[in-house]
Point group: C2
């Protein structure tokens, strides 16, 4: 069977989503990231590994510390999947807006 290791699989886990939002504001070390969660450090480390493997995070060694940077562009894969659906729900919204406008002008 396939070993699914893509952005969709990565953001399926709530802890990983929290890590991404946390790192989005600024690059952080694994320890600093783990400090924000109840789970043990190796567990966070594994999540970071998965996120790095999916290229949602980039590692940057700085002496003995490793900084994790966000790679926002990789989210585009997910965004591209959602785009057609976004068009669907916005189309419906626009229709509703048009109806409301015609009501007002009456």
């Amino acid at each position: 069977m396939d070993l699914r290791r893509d952005a969709f699989q990565a953001i399926a886990d709530p802890t990983r989503r929290a890590i991404l939002l946390l790192v989005a504001s600024q690059a952080m070390t694994a320890g600093a990231i783990a400090a924000n969660f109840d789970t043990a450090r190796p567990t966070v480390s594994k999540h970071l590994q998965i996120l790095a493997e999916c290229e949602l995070l980039k590692q940057e060694q700085n002496g003995r510390e490793i900084y994790y940077h966000i790679n926002a562009k990789k989210m585009k894969e997910v965004a591209d999947f959602i785009e057609p659906f976004r068009q669907m729900w916005e189309e419906r919204f626009n229709k509703l807006e048009t109806i409301m406008k015609t009501h007002k002008t009456k």
Copy 2:
């Protein structure tokens, strides 16, 4: 039994993403959907169940047939998560554009 049941988990599976894209164009019965895949019908049925549970699909009974409709608006949950990251990668693009403009005007 099944714990994590949200839109993120739902779209983590490639088969489910394919189902969503398939049903997006028009509502279909479970059999018609299953005909598009190699997997057995009960497997597709379970995927449909999960998608319905997450409210990405809506069921509509019509005699003995059950039609599955897309619920595009539910994708907004995922879109909302991605939005801040989208701003990040577009901001970088805008910066680049600004630099290129200043180069031109020189």
